[in-house]
Symmetry: C2
Subunit: 213 residues, 2 copies
């Protein structure tokens, strides 16, 4: 990997998509693909594909193209998907349930080890085999288990306070589903999933299309 160069976020956001398509190709038994063929499939220009990949190294071979399996593996490595991650989730509501289930069933390498709640009626139960624990015990849990990632599935009112606690306890990243922009120390990564922003953006495009008729 090229050292020092700072990669733009636009590139990073395309990597999982490259990886996804490469996974599908692999499943179909495709061995190699040229940037041109890949372009037709994934919808980015061949030029962009080559530029993107060359941020991280020369994974192709002139006159041949890219080896599908190797490239998939390289991108997995770049993203950090060859490591294991320990997670905790805060907020045992419907969304928390869905995310726990999603990770448990579909994301190998990621394990939700504890779900934290304030509602005493839920504490002690399990969700998809993951224990629901007292929110007050979260910091100690994270410190002991060396949790990597905290997932916030609370309402917006408590999200910042939860984030503060997660950071204090030492998580490296926060996956935030609450509709707020969290203030975090610079060394903690954050990724927001703002569902309503996404829905509103969809609605804008629906209306735009209508008005273009």
């Amino acid at each position: 990997m090229k050292k020092g160069a700072k990669i733009s976020n636009a590139v990073i956001r395309r990597l999982p998509r490259y990886r996804r398509y490469l996974g599908e190709l692999q499943k179909k038994g495709v061995d190699k693909i040229s940037s041109n063929e890949f372009s037709k499939l994934i919808g980015y220009t061949a030029s962009q594909i080559r530029q993107d990949l060359n941020n991280f190294g020369g994974f192709g071979q002139q006159g041949y193209g890219y080896n599908v399996k190797d490239l998939h593996s390289e991108i997995s490595g770049i993203l950090g998907l060859k490591n294991k991650y320990r997670l905790v989730l805060v907020g045992a509501g419907n969304l928390g349930h869905a995310i726990t289930n999603y990770i448990g069933n579909y994301r190998s390498g990621f394990a939700v080890e504890g779900i934290f709640e304030v509602n005493p009626e839920m504490i002690g139960q399990t969700l998809d085999g993951v224990p629901i624990l007292d929110y007050d015990s979260m910091v100690e849990f994270i410190e002991t288990r060396k949790t990597d990632i905290g997932i916030i599935c609370t309402g917006k009112e408590s999200a910042q306070e939860v984030a503060d606690k997660l950071c204090f306890a030492g998580v490296k990243g926060i996956w935030n589903f609450a509709p707020v922009d969290l203030e975090l120390p610079g060394h903690v990564a954050v990724e927001n999933v703002h569902l309503s922003d996404s829905l509103y953006s969809l609605v804008y495009h629906i209306n735009k299309m209508d008005s273009n008729k």
Copy 2:
């Protein structure tokens, strides 16, 4: 609103965020805000805020700033949030449950009217008061109810087939939670929520930060 000008997607994606902050300000009883004050709050440059807003019209007043309530209302109008939307959801799993619950409880103006499933054991039940119906009856339901938006909460295997059916039945937009890129006719809007892409992007940043230590 300026006619004809095509607004970039980057601008559209900032609108919900502007609106969210304006809503908070309104709740706090703030009447007016300058682009400079807003900049400090929201983290975009004052210049960008003014540029963005002027894509749609001159909502401010020289020497004064922007009226919080009016601007909130204008942005709601631009996004199309003054209309009502009828939705259906496909896939009554955990994620479908969470999304139904989320829309029912937090998003006024949006109503999930039916949840469609293939699993016969679920058909006939309700989820948050919304009936779970036979997937085979979906097209007729959408045609009758003039459904605006279809939400796909199925696995990736069936997502495209569901999308085709939604389009055939006449929805204007699709909110897609399945990890695939759907092929849709040009007049149907789509918004993807690719959870794993989001998680992978987070993980990249976690590792990047580690390596910068």
